[in-house]
Amino acid sequence: MPVLNTRVNGKTVQKEIKPTTLLVAFLRDGMGLTGTHVGCDTSQCGACVVHVDGVAVKSCTMLALQAEGADIQTIEDLAGDDGTLHPVQQAFQKHHALQCGFCTPGMIMASVALLSANPRPSPAQIRHGLEGNICRCTGYQNIVNAVLDASGQLGG
């Protein structure tokens, strides 16, 4: 079996994997990082969004072997070592931007990528930036509010 050499959440990883292994399966089953979710498994819902070399990708539509030499970041790596939540995670909590929470890891990883490319997005830009992520509980208003707040645009 081929060997994958990559970095996951800052740690070097070397692992034998089957070529058919998807990145999301490698993260969940191979690394035990189950924060990344599989929703649709057809690259529509965005629950599986992780960062590969700093950009958001749908990990259900990427082979793990395509991440050779890459730097992968998952939702598990956002909080500080002392458990302090990332500002986007805090904003999601504060604004009730989740209900069942299934879409949340993908929503947050997508929002973090959005804010790193555009630190002060308009509500329309947030909606456009999150169009690859589907939430079936709360609707999107509180998610947009959370991202606005995380970008420092809500005041108070």
Partner: protein, 270 residues
């Protein structure tokens, strides 16, 4: 997915050699179409040849009268690069309407055109802009490249290396996306290239096509008003669960006028 051998060559030559020595190989660009198709077991290549490590397939260059984009350049790069936005605004806008941000980070120009999905966006731009596809062995004009439903002029092992676009005087793309898939129900790219009006439509037939009658009307006066009274016959247009042929014919007329407006700096689309 059915099992396959994964290969990651670092040169074009090695990619071609790998392809030729395999039973039934497939090139992997961004994988945003190929991987879903393999997951559905609609494709079962013996070998998947990943093009990600071939440096000459990446990046873009702007010369005085041409923009050249490497086949493995992502939609996100085409959408965001300031140089591309300033020299062909319609192309940059088009790339930003493909799929969603995460798909655009992986999907590539070369992968999209080699697949030639009838509802893909890029074919409209390549045909309207009179682009030239450079492969590992020859140059193919866009007009000769897109053949039929999911068929191109590429030979089995042939690789798209880059696409060269002459810089147009005007360009814009307007798309009516299917709200679920974001593929084009209909998309129209309008451009003025070397002084001539060129319009191409995607999503409406089995393959991209030009709107010659509308182009003639626009050659005299590149203004949406020149398209008044021009309608396209519904004959031969795609009928599916999303839209009738008549609806698509109507959309082509509306989107063509909007694309010309946008190319003239009125409304979004460029």
């Amino acid at each position: 997915m059915y099992p396959f051998l994964y290969q990651r060559p670092t040169s074009l030559d090695d990619a071609l050699k790998s392809f030729r020595s395999a039973d039934d190989a497939c090139y992997l660009a961004g994988g945003q179409t190929l991987l879903p198709v393999m997951k559905q077991r609609l494709a079962m290549p013996s070998d998947v040849i990943d093009l990600a490590s071939i440096g000459e397939l990446r990046g873009f260059t702007v010369a005085q009268d041409r923009l050249s984009i490497g086949a493995m350049t992502s939609h996100a790069v085409v959408a965001q690069a300031a140089e591309i936005k300033s020299c062909i605004p319609g192309l940059s806008h088009l790339a930003g309407t493909i799929g969603d941000p995460h798909v655009r980070n992986r999907g590539t120009l070369g992968g999209s055109i080699a697949n030639n999905d009838p509802a893909a966006d890029y074919p409209a731009a390549l045909v309207a802009l009179d682009a030239v596809i450079h492969t590992d062995r020859r140059e193919i004009a866009a007009a000769d490249f897109f053949k039929e439903l999911f068929e191109t002029a590429l030979e089995g092992d042939e690789l798209v290396v880059r696409v060269e676009f002459p810089l147009p005087q005007k360009s814009a793309y307007i798309k009516f996306p299917n709200p679920a898939s974001r593929y084009a129900m209909v998309g129209v790219f309008a451009a003025v290239v070397s002084g001539a009006a060129r319009l191409a439509a995607t999503g409406a037939r089995s393959c991209v096509f030009r709107l010659h009658q509308m182009e003639q009307a626009l050659d005299k006066n590149f203004d949406a008003a020149a398209l008044a009274g021009h309608s396209l016959s519904a004959e031969g247009l795609t009928v599916d669960m999303h839209a009738s042929a008549e609806y698509r014919a109507h959309l082509i007329g509306v989107l063509a006028r909007r694309a010309v407006d946008a190319a003239n700096g009125r409304g979004s689309g460029s």
